[in-house]
C-alpha cells in the first residue's frame, strides 16, 4: 500500500478495525442471548436426561393434563408476535415511529394472550394438584393423600383439638365459666357434623387400613364421588390416582415453562418502555438499536418456546 500525503488510499483491503461491525448494544444483546441459550439448554437438557432415565414417565395427556391445542395456539401467538416485532423494527428503519409503536403494542397484546393461555394451563395443573411434591406416585400414597384431604375437608380435627384443650382447661379449673360455655358451643358444632361422619369414616378407614392397589384406588374414587354428591363439603378432595414420576414431571414442567413465562414478562417490560417513549412522541432514530435489540430478545423467547412445545406437548 502506498502512503503519500496527497493521494487518497483506494484499496480493496478493508482498513483493519477492532471489534465487530455492529452497535455495542447489539453485540451486548447477542452475548446475553448466548448466555440465555446456555441457561435454557441446561433446563431442556436436564428434562431430556431425566425423562430418558425414568422408565414409566407419564406421557398420556389425560394423565398429565397437557393440552396440545393450548401449546399449539401459544406457538402460533408467539410466532405472530415475532413477525410484529420485526415489522416494528422495519418501521423504525423507515422512520415511521407511530407505526413502530403500534406494532410493539400489538406484540405486547399477543404476549398477554400467551400469558393468559399459560395461566389457564397452570390453573388446570393446580386444580388437579399436579404440583411438585403433591403428586402421589403409588396407590398407597394416593390413598393416604385422599385420607389427609378428607380429614382436612371434614374440619373435624381442629374441633376435636379445641375440645381436648377446653376439657383440660375445665379439668384444671372447674370454675372456668368461659371455657365451659365455649365447650358447649363447640360440642354443638361437632354434633352438627354428625351426618357426614359415617360415610366419611367408612371411606377413610377403608382407604387407610384396606388394601392398597390400583383396584382399591378406583373403588375409593367411586366412593369419593358418591360422598361428594351427598356432602359437598368434600368437594375439595382430589380423586385418588397415582402418577409414576409425577413429582419429577411437575417439577421440570414448572421449571421450564415458569422461567420461560418469566422471560416473556421481562420482554413485556422492555416493550412497555418503548411504548411509553412512542406514546409520548419521544421515539426517534436514536432508539432504532433499542427496538432492534428488544426484538432480538423477543425472538429468542419465541425460539425457546419453539423447542419447549414439541418437547413438552408432543413427545
Amino acid at each position: 500500500m502506498s502512503h503519500t500525503a496527497t493521494a487518497p488510499i483506494h484499496s480493496h483491503v478493508p482498513a483493519l478495525k477492532m471489534g465487530v461491525p455492529i452497535p455495542n448494544g447489539k453485540l451486548g444483546m447477542w452475548l446475553f442471548l448466548g448466555t440465555e441459550i446456555m441457561f435454557f439448554t441446561a433446563f431442556i437438557g436436564t428434562y431430556i436426561v431425566l425423562r430418558l432415565g425414568s422408565k414409566g414417565w407419564p406421557h398420556n395427556p389425560e394423565v398429565t393434563h397437557i393440552r396440545i391445542w393450548a401449546g399449539g395456539l401459544n406457538t402460533f401467538v408467539l410466532i405472530t408476535s415475532s413477525v410484529f416485532v420485526v415489522l416494528a423494527h422495519e418501521a423504525m428503519n423507515s422512520k415511521n415511529y407511530k407505526l413502530a409503536t403500534n406494532w410493539i403494542i400489538a406484540t405486547t397484546a399477543l404476549a398477554c394472550v400467551f400469558l393468559g393461555i399459560k395461566s389457564y394451563e397452570y390453573y388446570g395443573k393446580y386444580d388437579h394438584d399436579i404440583l411438585p411434591g403433591h403428586v402421589a406416585e403409588s396407590s398407597r400414597q394416593a390413598l393416604d393423600k385422599m385420607v389427609k384431604e378428607l380429614d382436612k375437608a371434614s374440619g373435624l380435627l381442629p374441633l376435636q383439638q379445641e375440645e381436648t384443650r377446653l376439657n383440660n382447661a375445665i379439668a384444671s379449673n372447674p370454675n372456668d365459666k368461659t371455657s365451659a360455655a365455649r365447650l358447649v358451643d363447640l360440642q354443638a358444632k361437632i354434633k352438627a357434623l354428625d351426618p357426614i361422619l359415617e360415610p366419611y369414616q367408612k371411606l377413610k378407614n377403608k382407604a387407610k387400613f384396606g388394601e392398597s392397589s390400583l383396584h382399591a384406588t378406583h373403588e375409593a374414587a367411586e366412593e369419593l364421588k358418591q360422598l361428594q354428591e351427598s356432602h359437598p363439603v368434600f368437594k375439595s378432595v382430589h380423586e385418588p390416582h397415582y402418577i409414576k414420576w409425577g413429582n419429577t414431571f411437575a417439577s421440570i414442567y414448572f421449571l421450564m415453562t415458569g422461567f420461560h413465562a418469566l422471560h416473556v414478562i421481562i420482554g413485556m417490560i422492555m416493550f412497555a418502555i418503548i411504548i411509553i417513549l412512542g406514546m409520548s412522541q419521544k421515539l426517534g432514530s436514536q432508539h432504532a438499536t433499542l427496538v432492534e435489540n428488544c426484538g432480538l430478545y423477543w425472538h429468542f423467547v419465541d425460539l425457546v418456546w419453539i423447542f419447549l412445545f414439541p418437547l413438552i406437548y408432543i413427545v
Binding site: 478493508p14 482498513a15 478495525k17 471489534g19 465487530v20 461491525p21 455492529i22 452497535p23 452475548l31 448466548g34 448466555t35 441459550i37 439448554t41 437438557g45 436426561v49 431425566l50 425423562r51 430418558l52 432415565g53 422408565k55 414409566g56 414417565w57 406421557h59 389425560e62 394423565v63 396440545i68 399449539g72 410466532i79 413477525v83 415489522l87 422495519e90 428503519n93 406416585e137 403409588s138 394416593a142 388394601e211 392398597s212 392397589s213 390400583l214 384406588t217 378406583h218 397415582y242 402418577i243 409414576k244 414420576w245 409425577g246 432514530s285 432504532a288 432492534e292 426484538g295 432480538l296 425472538h299 429468542f300 419465541d302 425460539l303 419453539i306 412445545f309 414439541p310 408432543i314 413427545v315
Partner: protein
C-alpha cells in the same frame, strides 16, 4: 460487504440495512405456521392405527419424536436466519454461537451417563413391581377375583417410556 467495514463500527442503522435484500417476513410467517401445523399433525399421526400397525407403537413414537424435533429445528432456523437477521450478519455470529452450542450440548452429554442411562439394576420406588401383582398374590386366598394385573388404566403410566 466491504462498504460496511469502511464505515464506523457504531454507525447509524441506515448504513447497516442498505445491503440486505428485502425479506418478505410474512412468507417466513406462513412457513412457520405450516411447520407448526406439521408437528401437530405428527402428534395426531402417532395414534394413527395404520402407522402403528406398520411399525409398532414404540417405533411410531420415535418417528414422531424425530419429525417434531426436525420441524422445531427448521422453525428455529427460520427465526434465527430471517427474523433475527443472522443470514445477513458477518462471521462473528459463529464466534458467538459456537461456544454456546458446545456448552449447550455439554449438559445432557455430561448427565446422560449419570441419570439418563442405566447400565445396572437400580431400585427406585417407581419401578417396584405393580402392586396389584403383589397384593393379588397375598390376597388370592381371601379374594379370588382380585387377581388382575391390568396396568393399562388411568394412573398407571405405561411402563415403557
Amino acid at each position: 460487504m466491504s462498504e460496511e467495514h469502511s464505515t464506523h463500527p457504531a454507525s447509524e442503522h441506515a448504513a447497516h440495512d442498505e445491503h440486505h435484500p428485502h425479506v418478505n417476513y410474512w412468507y417466513i410467517f406462513y412457513a412457520l405456521c405450516i411447520l407448526t401445523g406439521l408437528s401437530v399433525l405428527a402428534d395426531m399421526a402417532r395414534e394413527n392405527s395404520t402407522l402403528v400397525n406398520m411399525t409398532g407403537t414404540h417405533n411410531a413414537a420415535i418417528l414422531t419424536c424425530i419429525v417434531v424435533l426436525a420441524v422445531a429445528t427448521a422453525k428455529a432456523l427460520f427465526v434465527m436466519l430471517y427474523f433475527m437477521h443472522l443470514k445477513f450478519e458477518g462471521k462473528w455470529k459463529f464466534v458467538l454461537l459456537a461456544p454456546t452450542i458446545v456448552l449447550a450440548m455439554a449438559i445432557p452429554a455430561a448427565l446422560m451417563p449419570d441419570i439418563g442411562s442405566h447400565y445396572y439394576d437400580y431400585e427406585v420406588p417407581q419401578l417396584e413391581p405393580e402392586e396389584d401383582a403383589a397384593v393379588a398374590a397375598e390376597g388370592a386366598g381371601a379374594h379370588g377375583h382380585d387377581a388382575h394385573g391390568a396396568p393399562a388404566e388411568h394412573g398407571a403410566g405405561d411402563k415403557k417410556e
